[in-house]
């Protein structure tokens, strides 16, 4: 079933603040097999100009997928069993570091058909609780056979 195009432009409410911790960054870095000291040693991070340990570029996937309630709305018509991850992008205003408290707002920016598949793109704008923009993520998922 084709996805409901009326959902383009639909935005989530702002997420509760996500507190970035040294422990979570270290766990994530270990999970991707990356032993870079700027992910686990605050002194090493400060030595290259960061206020504390920073997060790997793909770290926002941990907290930024707050558009789930929009995707789960039955009026959208998305069959989760047929969903695969199509594209992902992270655009940074500055690196994320331990101690950041981040708020995410997700917006459906595009729904389109490619062959028999339906593609939906959700942009997530991540900023600090003080309102400083930190990064923007773009998550495109593919509903296989959705346009068929």
């Amino acid at each position: 079933m084709a996805l409901n195009r009326d959902f383009v432009g639909r935005a989530s409410t702002p997420s509760p603040p996500y507190e970035v911790s040294r422990v979570k960054i270290k766990e994530f870095a270990a999970a991707i097999g990356d032993d870079n000291p700027v992910y686990r040693d605050a002194e090493a991070a400060r030595a290259v100009g960061h206020p504390d340990v920073i997060a790997p570029p793909t770290f926002p996937i941990v907290f930024s997928l707050v558009g789930g309630s929009i995707l789960a709305d039955p009026d959208l018509g998305l069959n989760f069993a047929m969903v695969v991850h199509g594209e992902q992008r992270f655009e940074y205003q500055r690196p994320i570091h331990a101690g950041d408290e981040l708020v995410t707002v997700s917006t459906v920016t595009d729904i389109r058909s490619v062959g028999r598949n339906e593609l939906i793109t959700v942009r997530s704008d991540v900023s600090t609780v003080e309102g400083e923009p930190v990064c923007t993520t773009y998550n495109t998922i593919v509903e296989r056979g959705g346009a068929g």
């Binding site: 990356d34 700027v38 960061h50 941990v62 695969v84």
Partner: protein, 142 residues
């Protein structure tokens, strides 16, 4: 932010040597826990086969993270990566044996931008398939 690569030392077309990143089942279990993505296709062979997959497959985001690691290791400071995007074009199948799978990442400096930034185009392959396409990172050099 302090990348260790100098903009003036980099040329368009310059290749960044390939690196092999091994993936075993334990890595996927760790990634599931750290990321919160517990989809059983990434750890349960029985489930993966019932939905038509050949075996357990790696999280796309795990593969993307290996590409990210390739770029940040080249740049010297992960904070120098200002933009990173990929398309997931094929699966990384991870068998339950001592070898697991290998993701091979290589790169090329595709373009020099203003403000001492460069575009790095990445190639990621596993089992003779290209697992990422349109993989690009923008890196702030010094």
């Amino acid at each position: 932010m302090a990348a260790t690569v100098k903009y003036d030392d980099v040329e368009t077309g310059q290749e960044i040597p390939a690196v092999d990143y091994p993936v075993r089942r334990v890595n996927l279990v760790m990634y599931a826990g750290a990321s919160g993505d517990f989809n059983p296709i990434h750890w349960n062979e029985r489930f993966a086969k019932t939905v038509g997959l050949p075996d357990v497959i790696a999280h796309g985001m795990f593969t993307m993270a290996q590409g990210g690691r390739f770029v940040t290791d080249w740049a010297g400071d992960p904070g120098a990566v200002v933009d990173y995007g990929v398309r997931f074009s094929s699966m990384v199948v991870v068998p339950d044996d001592e070898e697991g799978a290998v993701i091979t990442v290589s790169g090329i400096v595709e373009q020099k931008l203003e403000d001492r930034r460069v575009v790095v185009a990445l190639t990621a392959r596993s089992n003779d398939s290209r697992v990422l396409s349109k993989a690009r990172a923008v890196v702030q050099l010094i």
